[in-house]
């Protein structure tokens, strides 16, 4: 469809001036997008390109560094610490994404009713999302202190043995998932709530009149209506989980015994604590590739879906 517009302008108008050719039909538009373009270029694209180059270098950021080709990426293949960092990130994502999206949907459905003080509940569930990860870290490090924390004394009261929580290598990552959920659930709830309130009441009423039970209404009307939001949240939360850093930094610093060293924390450790900026960049690029793949998957998924729908609607298709 852009072809028609283009051919119309080129055929009717005389040869456009260089200025027009450079800046388009509405030159002033550039003035409007210039600030954000500069920001995106300066803050994102240029550093990204620079980091990409860095990943082929042995560099400590302090001295000029030298080219090592693929050596950083090859070394990654043999690095047991990198492998375990990837494992931690995957485990965290595998738990955090379904729990936050599923939990968010459940809580949003509960809060989408006419109940007393619903405003208070909605606020309460969203407040942790606004909290900075650093504050969250300090809060939970006190609550979960193995010796003096509130959590252990409460569990002691119930007759449950003391837990190590963030100090126990076998538990720490799961505890982090819990803290992450505490902070991240609110976002999913708010997005789901907004989507739930967009579903026309008449549809539900009609279904109810037709005798559909609540579960059927949920499955046949609510879920399909939430589909775009659901997919958005899945992608968003996955990217969020893959980028986990601040919580780890504020609570465990990758410990105990490396049990919570996730990929981004590993990048930080390599680049800014051990001065292996080139190697750190290579790790970062592997992660970037993984995130790109997630985005691509979403895009392809959308394409396939649209193609199916079009085929279904095409004459001859099932109607």
């Amino acid at each position: 469809m852009p072809a028609t517009v283009a051919s119309a302008t080129t055929s009717s108008a005389p040869a456009p001036s260089w200025r027009r050719r450079l800046f388009g039909e509405h030159p002033s538009a550039w003035a409007f997008i210039l600030p954000s373009t500069v920001l995106v270029l300066g803050m994102n694209l240029i550093p990204m390109g620079w980091a990409f180059l860095l990943s082929f270098k042995a560099s400590d950021l302090v001295t000029p560094g030298h080219w090592v080709g693929m050596a950083n990426y090859r070394a990654l293949g043999h690095d047991p610490n990198f492998r375990s960092a990837v494992g931690h990130t995957l485990l965290y994502s595998a738990l955090y994404v379904p729990l936050s999206v599923g939990g968010g949907l459940a809580v949003a459905s509960m809060l989408n009713r006419r109940i007393r003080f619903v405003g208070i509940y909605r606020t309460a569930i969203f407040v942790p999302f606004i909290m900075s990860a650093a504050a969250e870290g300090v809060l939970f490090s006190f609550v979960l202190d193995p010796q003096y924390g509130v959590a252990n004394s409460a569990m002691h009261g119930l007759g449950i043995a003391r837990q190590g929580f963030l100090q126990d290598p076998a538990q720490a990552l799961y505890v982090l998932v819990g803290i992450g959920l505490w902070g991240g659930l609110g976002f999913c709830v708010i997005v789901f709530l907004a989507a739930l309130q967009d579903i026309p009441k008449e549809l539900m009423e009609a279904a109810a009149i037709d005798g559909a039970r609540r579960w059927v209404v949920f499955r046949k009307i609510v879920l399909p209506a939430l589909r775009p939001v659901l997919i958005f949240l899945l992608v968003w939360q996955t990217l969020d989980a893959l980028q986990l850093f601040d919580l780890v930094y504020a609570t465990t610093q990758g410990g105990p015994l490396g049990a919570t060293t996730v990929v981004v924390y590993y990048v930080y450790e390599q680049a800014f604590q051990f001065f292996h900026a080139g190697y750190g960049s290579a790790v970062a690029y592997v992660l970037a590739l993984a995130m790109f793949a997630v985005g691509l998957l979403r895009l392809l998924g959308g394409r396939v879906q649209r193609w199916r729908r079009e085929r279904a609607l095409a004459p001859g298709g099932a109607r």
């Binding site: 050719r21 450079l22 800046f23 388009g24 550039w30 373009t37 500069v38 270029l41 300066g42 240029i46 400590d60 950021l61 302090v62 001295t63 950083n72 070394a75 690095d79 047991p80 610490n81 990198f82 490090s141 006190f142 979960l144 202190d145 193995p146 010796q147 003096y148 190590g164 929580f165 963030l166 100090q167 126990d168 290598p169 504020a250 609570t251 465990t252 610093q253 990758g254 410990g255 105990p256 015994l257 490396g258 450790e269 390599q270 800014f272 604590q273 051990f274 001065f275 292996h276 190697y279």
Partner: protein, 432 residues
Amino acid sequence: MRRWLIIAALLCTAIVAAGCGGGSDNGGTSANGVVTLKFWPGQNDIPKQALDTLVARFNATHPHIHISSDSGGVLADEMLTKVTAALASGSYPDIAYIYGSDLANLARSSKVLDLTDTVNRPSFGWNEFWPAERQAATVDGKVRAIPALTDNLAVIYNPKLFDQAGLPYPKADWTWDDYRAIARKLTNAATGTFGAAWPGAGGEDTTWRLWPMLWQQGGDILAPDGKKAAFDSPQGVGALTLVNQMATVDKSIYVDPDPNSEHMQQLFVNGKLGMLIGGPWSLPDMVAAHEKYGVVQMPGYNGDHTTIAGPDNWVIFDNGGARTQAAITFVTWLTDPAQDVVWDRATQSLPLRRTTLASPAYKAYAKTIVGMDLFAKNLVNARARPTIGTYPQISHAVGEAIVGSLLGRTKPADGLKQAEQSANSALSGAPY
């Protein structure tokens, strides 16, 4: 598409030009002959106020130099990241506050000034600085920084808990076995009281507390040539085994999960911790909480009570002759006893120079905080960590071994063996 490329290219040039433009200088001297210096002290609260006062005094008394102190928007913990980025961009400050353990890495940059000749001038008084400070400012035999702040570790104890347990207060000639025995007696699970504490997050705060135990027995972190690790020795294993036994058998050590080791400090202030290995920075909290405490030097092996100091530094960056000279003038002035006293009081740190320690102003101040004089006297017993670029990796590896021993997850000998392997691999230049 073409259009996009052209515009993108234009913008790139603009940004790069702007980035460089900010850093260009004419030796830092403005038309009226005043040299302006960028000073990143990375402090807040009381230390910042004290520095601001000192800077104002310097600016008033030195008409040809103007110090502009803005911290670069970060505090000392983030200073290294900030300075690294600043160096990469080519627009860096004249003076920055750098942690002792970061100096060796930063000193690889040729923009970090070599101050060997400067400090060796008789008027500078390099020998007035403590051995640990001089050691921590020296990388590969060259002086690359001026000491900015110094401390050391000693044992702070709670007399009330000693009285309750019917124990005499620790004496200066005590041993690590005494330390273990006392800690066990002070520990009381029923009241939630611990005899001792150790940071359990695995950072440098976990690691550096082990080094005095190693040094006191004649062990060391690195082999004399500096190319191999040497901490996996009978001395190292002995020290770590003691810590391991205290934590897992006696259960007399509180393992602090907080990355900033603040829980153990809090515990002491709340009267639940008998002995805290800490520095002069620990004292103000206790004074503020009106909790009685005493300070005694570290326990020893065979009568050796060597401790560790972790001095931080002022690093001066090369921004051309005039600015460099002005920066040296300022930092020299700042470490002079008259200013040193003000700074020490604000940061609760120890005198940078012996001459400060002897000054009446410092003596008057030290009297106001119990134990401060002991920390100051302890400086002659203090050593510094090796100033090598791979130290952070060595520290990380040993930190894991210590945490493993504290939590009873690894045997001290196995942990140290593995740590030494990692350290040697780091020393040989491998990335992990």
